[in-house]
Amino acid sequence: MSEPGVGIELSHVTKLYAGQQQAAVEDFSLSVHPGELVMFVGPSGCGKTTTMKMINRIIEPSSGSITIDGQDVLSLDPNELRRHIGYVIQQIGLFPHMTIAENIATVPKLLGWSKERTNDRVDELLRTVQLDPAVFAHRYPKQLSGGQQQRVGVARALAADPPVMLMDEPFGATDPITRQKLQAEFLKLQADIGKTIIFVTHDFDEAIRLGDRIAVLSERSQIEQFDTPANILANPANDYVSSFIGHGAGLMRLALIPIGDVELDAPDSTAPAVDADASLRDALDLLMVTGAERVNVSGGGGSLTHARISAALSKARQPVEAS
Amino acid sequence: MSTRPSASRKPAAAPQPAAAPQPTAAPQPTTAPRLSLRRFATPLAVAGALAVLFLWLNTLTLDSIEQRTLNTSYLLDRTQEHLILTVVSSALVALLAIPAGIAAYRVRSKAVRAFVIALGNIGQATPAVGVVILLAIVWQTGFYTALISLVAYCFLPVLRNTLTGLEQVDHATREAARGMGMTPRQVLWRIELPLASPVILAGLRTALVFSVGVATIATFINAGGLGDMIVNGLKLQRYPVIVVGAVLVAAIAVLIDWAAGLVEDLVRPRGL
């Protein structure tokens, strides 16, 4: 039903902004597999956004080549190119004068879809991002909460079922609790649709939770390490990466341990519930947020306490660090 | 005449205190440095236009009717009348409307405020030519009638600008001043008026430019000014007379607006 992702190849890409001596992005090469969710993470001003925006040519590279599914993007009409790349930015950028339905229908309209097909697609997408079409389709953006707007932003980017999505700090403007919820929903969604996604963030925690692979970037978009979250946590390539991980490494590692890997206590019907396929980090977050003593694992027939979680963490540390 | 240069270079914002300079208007797109060469583009352009006018006049052979008006002493007399009407009325407006605006502000009564704003809106909707002619009919024709209708016509925008200018002073600033122990009078003179001055000055500038226009129609009630040339030129079908009258009055309007803008920029409190 949904179009699977395609590969993206950046090779020796450089961007020098007019009137600047130093390149914002220098000799950047990276290969993204089809269906992969790659996180760009790095400090402010390191060139994450610039690198990402060269892929849909919002910013034109000074040199180098970029291909999507083997096709050189520089040889395509930029407008046509962009209609097939989903794009989500931090400010969301919903058009305030259009209803939610009209916002989502923007690209299908540009592509000349029929009315019925567009309407069906809008309804389908609203349900995908857990918004009831009957309630939300005809509202205006200002009548939605920040988190709801952010979901519409994702739905809008998915409208024409693009194989590639570019996301620039899409959850950056939301409060921590909403952000976690959006991240969890987003992971589920991605498991279904399997798009190739480049996701920019400067929140390393977010990178660990979401990414299949993470590119840790420094000044001029230099790649310090490009690897899976587990490998980066276990083997930081250099001091720069270590310092970026900082003290939160243990907590972050929790995000990589599925609840299924841990022994459970007896269920407690009064406790809040967490999904069986969530990570320990999600369980811990729920404990913190609700202030409960334990959380139930839904369908799993058991519950988790702080003690269980810390035990799992100390057990996980040795083998990972040894590898 | 009732040409309202509204919020001169700011975007027009219509709601309540309509066309007059808006305290809430969006930031100006370009602000010229206080004194730069670009500042003098306007007077140079006006000088250029006048030079062209003069050269064109020299190529014409004027008949006796035209000679009667197109000579230095006639032009100077009309220009002088025009300027006197404009400047005296604007000065009177400043002397009357600003204190009235301050008074309206200080009584802090919703009713007074609503009255002033409503009056301002009606004043803005009133055609200047109607005011001038009405006054001439119920009273008399001549210079004084023109002067009074000019003052009446320009009074409301300045009054309203004074009121809204004072009202838009940030509440926290006012409270901070009171908190330091300033008396209400000191707050007015040291804080509120300086902060409101750009809006008040913008109102005066509008009034000045209005006056140039309204002074032109003073000719209808025999109050002289450059309008005489325009009206006579039209009556006698003498195009050169119309052109000279119209270009001179336009030049005066543009120069006065320019000079007022210069003064506005020079006296605006630094930091605003």
Binding site: R82, R83 | M1, A12, P127, I133
Partner: protein
């Protein structure tokens, strides 16, 4: 000294209605032309520094020119009546409309424009379907200011035989001393005031109903 107003009105109300409608017509026509022209100019110059500054400066200077002077200059070229009236009303309407169009277009947040471009809208399409609707409330305000301006100027245009209520205002002057002088000027002036206020009210409604619900506060 003056004839009674009710007798005057009873005898001339049809005349007054015609003049009021003429006044409204010439203002509406001029505003329509000025809106098309002004928005077009705004769309052409809003993102180019030099043309934008030039357009705004020119319009700013133009609006200071007294209207009797402009009408007088136009009449030898355009004759008398509607033509010089409409041209001068358009002339004075341009500043508020162009200025507000430019400001409105420039105030559209950069991230909305980037969103539109990022979705594959061409620059022209972005301008028409994103920026223009978002700038519309500001543009309507400009038109509203222009409306107030032109209702008053149209009264003066009667001096060059322009249509509308100015005729009555000037009739009072030309019949100075006669019984009906005051009645003529007074009714003319009051009708202009009422027309201006009504038009202003109409613009509040126009602004409301022509603006997307998503933008209304």
């Amino acid at each position: 000294m003056s004839g009674s107003l009710d007798v005057f009105l009873a005898r001339r109300w049809e005349d007054l209605v015609t003049l009021t409608l003429q006044h409204l017509a010439v203002v509406a026509l001029s505003l329509a032309i000025a809106t098309v022209l002004g928005v077009l100019i705004g769309l052409l110059v809003w993102d180019k520094n030099v043309p934008r500054t030039a357009a705004l400066t020119a319009a700013g200077i133009a609006i200071t020119i007294p209207s009797l002077a402009l009408l007088a200059l136009l009449s030898p070229v355009l004759g008398l009546g509607w033509a010089p009236t409409v041209v001068s009303l358009v002339f004075y309407s341009l500043l508020p409309i162009v200025r507000n169009t430019v400001v409105g277009l420039r105030e559209v947040p950069a991230h909305l424009i980037e969103s539109a471009r990022g979705m594959g809208m061409t620059p022209a399409k972005t301008l028409i379907s994103i920026q223009l609707p978002l700038a519309w409330p500001v543009i309507v305000t400009g038109i509203r200011v222009a409306a107030q301006l032109t209702v008053g100027i149209a009264a003066i245009a009667a001096y060059v035989a322009g249509p509308g209520l100015g005729l009555y205002i000037f009739k009072g002057l030309s019949s100075l001393g006669s019984v009906n002088a005051l009645n003529f000027t007074l009714t003319g002036t009051i009708c202009v005031v009422l027309l201006a206020l009504l038009l202003d009210g109409a613009f509040v409604l126009i602004a409301r109903y022509s603006t997307s619900r998503g933008l209304r506060v």
